[in-house]
Amino acid sequence: MNKVKWLIAASGLLLLTGCAANNTVKVPIEDRSETRAREQQLTLPVPGLDQAEPAEGVTVVPLDTPVVRTRPEARTQPDRPQQANTRSWGNTPTAVAPSKMSPAVLALLDNADLDRRRGNYQSAENTLGRAQRIAPREPEVYYRMAQVRQKKRLWQQAEQLALRGVALAQGQGAMLKRLWLLIADIRLDAGDQTGAQKARLKANRY
């Protein structure tokens, strides 16, 4: 009797195990950076800003004192609150020179580079994110971030990151040159020949 039960049980089991499916919900892996980048490209044009003339409606009140309209050449020099004739201010130019980067940031950049060369872009991106949190004003970090996005073929984001680097690298000629050359390269990859040419011209200024 018992044996019969077990036989039935066993055969039933054989049938059932076939149907026992794993009901795990699988969530697809996705990278949201591309879609976001596309959205922004559509909605956020950088405005042209070439308004040298004052807009209508600004009232300029004449003074009693006579006004001299010529501008002396010497004016800008002594007026500058900074002795050095540099475009960057504060302690930024020296503080962010690559040689002065902290060992922590250097170590992270090295690791990220290794990951990038191995084609492990996600890891490289995570590591660069750590570097950026520690040294958010370091252009080199943005240079490397742009490189990784370029590898991921996210041209628009790659260029924007490099531009962020440019904004932070004011006064660092060598860095600016590298950044503009990278931008030229990215634009070339993106099929923008004229843009690449423009970027190369900018790079040649440094």
Binding site: T17, V27, A52, A55, V68, T70, G129, Q160
Partner: protein, 768 residues
């Protein structure tokens, strides 16, 4: 006749037996299928785990000993004399030796290691490993701050049997089911023993259930005590024992068993119980802790060590005694363990549940991208940028300021509860570091940081002025602060007034913003066009397009503190729109990446215009409506911001930033009542208090290409020189400088009358 009757009876009996046999076989097959299905499939719904940012340790990091202590307390590190095992730390006056636990991050494993940290002031000076080698950087484990629970509110941290500490299995078997390794799922000896005990006691005191039966009961069956359940429990236990090894059953038991209740959250399994009672990973538990947890199985609420410490201690000591009797531990071990205190952590000190507003934000974002089912059952790992230290400072600043205001304006607030909300980001990364949704920051209620949409008042002004600067105005342009009347589309008249009820005539644009004049702002906005201001707001990062009514120019638009933060974030980041992020990464339970939210930047406002508005926003705090800031902050800490007060003084706002912190504060009443103070009287104070605690990096402006500084005569807006009375240096886009010039501008700047640039202005240029 008689024979045939018995024969018929026999046949009937045989038939009946056959039916019963077939039926029970069917039931058995069904039960067996049940057992295998659940045991081999996904056994438990695992809540998603939400982590705070991991603390980065590196030489030069701004981190005091006390801050590290806080972090390690949150992680459940034990403070010991010799750090000889993971999860321990030893302290000296300016050093700390730390034995980290290690953590498997999606981008690599941070190994468990022993390091020596040297502090110097509020910074980490050096980090060395055991070989004396300097360590450039490492990450601590991230603090688990919350989870996303399934409907039954079951929470657990899965563990493997080999992760269980010494004696846990022994203790469980010893007190719950001595014959566990011998029986076949049910234990007749155990039942007999229980019956004897029950008979002696004259009532039901012992169940005689094996661990296997208990597992079956919790795992497969409902909790009601019926005969039917009992009858299914036994065959199922036998089947379970038949199919699976003792270790597999024990491992499942370790993870299934109910061990406590935290509010609505049911604490299941030893992995989570270890965190819940000791704030430590299970593997680090000592004998006395293991004994306490094993003892809890019998009745987690009856022996609750927090509510009934005496009972819990007796139970623990009993477990220790049984372990000794069984020969698992020696006498000395037993006595030593019995001398230990219970060692249970305070419930409130647990980070879980401490960040309802932030978790709310994380959940909303996750729910947009994952089905609820996946969130509450897949054991996803969610890595956020929440900084518990910043969060603690933000809520402390709001608490302190609110109490002070209530004390000062007690009568006027008339027992109404002053509410507040705050958003803190790092403007360089766009990461949200802290979010406070109300006065009681542990209370999971109305999340004002996300959901309280209130008129932003003057907080809109930087956008108006930015639009003007993008349309040809300069900081030195003279604008009209005079009564104005605008007829609206509906025929009504709009007549804005200044806060001091006066008009100030012609005034330099930067000055009008610093002093937050309404009439000149309205005039400016009408001149540039409301549509243009709307466009600027959108480029600053506002998600929903506001209606282009003139009242928008003075902040009639209602926004949440979170939306305001997106706008100020872009200004703080020099015109780069960096979408704010709370989540860094989502991975599977195994650490496989599912989605990432990397840094996104888009230059949406020209760097030069932003530079100009930043200048004016510095003036707000140095000379304008937010001067209060420097009553408390050191003069060399550059910040910029804007106060905001809505119509009739119903909302008090401040939004502003330093180099690496941007914060938006709102204060008001939930019933939208009037406040006895303005933006600078309320929110600004809380903002400043936060910055005092936070000690952020100063904001240092970078001069973009195409910006030049000129001496300007403020009254006329003409070019001046350092020798001119009333002149100051103001940035211009190259080519937009005024053409008119005062004669004094040409005087050679030699001699003692040379005017010094403004004090704060020098600091903006360089750090001294």
């Amino acid at each position: 006749m008689k024979r045939s009757w018995t024969r018929r009876l026999l046949v009937l009996f045989f038939k009946l037996t056959l039916v019963v046999a077939v039926l029970s076989a069917g039931v058995l097959v069904y039960l067996d299928a049940q057992i295998r299905l659940k045991f081999e499939g996904k056994r438990w719904a695992l809540p998603a785990k939400v982590y705070a940012r991991p603390l980065e340790l590196y030489p030069g990091a701004l981190l005091s000993r006390d801050q590290l202590k806080q972090e390690l307390k949150g992680l459940g590190y034990r403070f010991v004399r010799r750090a000889s095992e993971p999860g321990t730390v030893e302290w000296a006056s300016s050093r700390a030796r730390l034995y980290t636990r290690g953590f498997s991050f999606p981008d690599g494993t941070e190994a468990s290691r022993r390091i020596l940290l040297q502090f110097s002031g509020n910074r980490v000076a050096s980090i060395r490993d055991d070989q004396g080698q300097s360590v450039p950087i490492l990450r601590l484990e991230p603090i688990l701050v919350g989870g996303i629970y399934p409907k039954d509110n079951e929470d657990r941290d899965l563990i493997r049997l080999d992760q269980a500490p010494h004696y846990l299995a022994e203790a469980l078997v010893a007190v719950e089911d001595r014959d566990f390794y011998q029986h076949h799922g049910v234990s007749p000896r155990g039942i007999a023993r229980a019956m004897v005990v029950n008979l002696k006691a004259g009532r039901f005191v012992q169940g005689g259930s094996t661990l296997t039966q208990q597992l079956v009961k919790n795992f497969y069956l409902s909790s009601e005590r019926t005969l039917a359940r009992k009858l299914t429990e036994i065959p199922m236990a036998v089947l379970l024992d038949l199919h699976y090894g003792k270790d597999e059953i024990l491992e499942a038991y370790l993870n299934e068993v109910y061990l406590g209740q935290s509010g609505s959250r049911a604490v299941h399994g030893f992995g989570l119980a270890s965190q819940y009672y000791f704030a430590q990973p299970i593997g680090e538990l000592k004998l006395h802790q293991v004994a306490l947890l094993a003892g809890l199985v019998k009745g987690p609420s009856f022996y609750d060590p927090r509510r009934h410490p005496q009972r819990a201690k007796e139970r623990r000591d009993l477990v220790l005694k049984v372990l000794h009797e069984q020969g698992a531990i020696n006498n000395a071990q037993m006595i030593r363990a019995m001398k230990q205190p219970l060692g249970v952590v305070k419930q409130r000190s647990l980070h879980k549940g401490g960040y309802p507003a932030y978790l709310d934000l994380v959940k909303r974002q996750l729910r947009e991208e994952y089905p609820e089912e996946a969130l509450s059952s897949e054991g996803l790992q969610v890595f956020t940028s929440l900084d518990p230290v910043v969060q603690a400072r933000a809520s402390a600043a709001l608490q302190t300021t609110s109490s002070q205001l209530e004390k000062r304006f007690g009568a006027k607030l008339a027992k109404k509860k002053l509410q507040s909300a705050m958003v803190v980001t790092d403007p360089q990364t766009g990461e949200i570091l802290a979010l406070v949704g109300g006065r009681n920051s542990r209370y999971q209620g109305f999340n004002r940081a996300l959901d309280a949409r209130r008129p932003i008042g003057s907080l809109v002004k930087p956008a108006v002025y930015l639009a003007a600067l993008e349309n040809g105005f300069t900081l030195a342009s003279l604008i009209e602060d005079a009564p104005l009347r605008v007829t609206l589309d509906d025929g009504s008249l709009w007549q804005p007034r200044n806060f001091d009820r006066k008009s100030h005539g012609e005034i330099a644009l930067h000055r009008a913003l610093a002093n937050s004049y309404n009439q000149s702002t309205a005039w400016l906005g009408m001149t540039v066009g409301v549509d243009s201001v709307v466009d600027t707001l959108m480029r600053l990062g506002l998600k929903e397009k506001p209606k282009p009514y003139p009242s928008l120019l003075l902040g009639a638009e209602s926004l949440s503190p979170f939306s305001v933060a997106t706008i100020y974030q872009t200004i703080a980041a020099n015109g780069f729109n960096i979408p704010m992020r709370a989540i860094r990464l989502v991975t599977t339970a195994e650490g496989e990446e599912l989605s990432r939210y990397p840094l996104q930047v888009t230059q949406s406002i020209d760097a030069r215009s932003v530079h100009l508005i930043q200048y004016a926003m510095q003036e707000v705090v140095r000379e304008g409506t937010a001067r209060y800031v420097y009553q408390r902050l050191p003069a060399d800490l550059n910040v910029a911001g804007k106060t905001g007060t809505s119509n009739d003084q119903r909302d008090s706002w401040f939004a502003g930033f330093a180099g690496n912190r941007m914060a938006v504060v709102w204060m008001g009443l939930d019933d939208n009542g009037k406040l006895p103070f303005t933006g600078s009287g309320g929110a600004l104070r809380a903002w400043t208090d936060f910055m005092v605690r936070e000690q952020p990096d100063p904001f240092i402006a970078t001069q973009p290409d195409g910006i030049e500084y000129q001496w300007i005569d403020e009254a006329s807006g003409y070019l001046a020189g350092p020798r001119c009375e009333g002149a100051r240096q103001i940035p211009f886009m190259t080519g937009s400088e005024p053409l008119e010039q005062l004669p004094c501008a040409q005087e050679p700047d030699i001699g003692e009358t040379l005017r010094q640039p403004l004090d704060w202005f020098k600091r903006w240029f360089r750090q001294e």
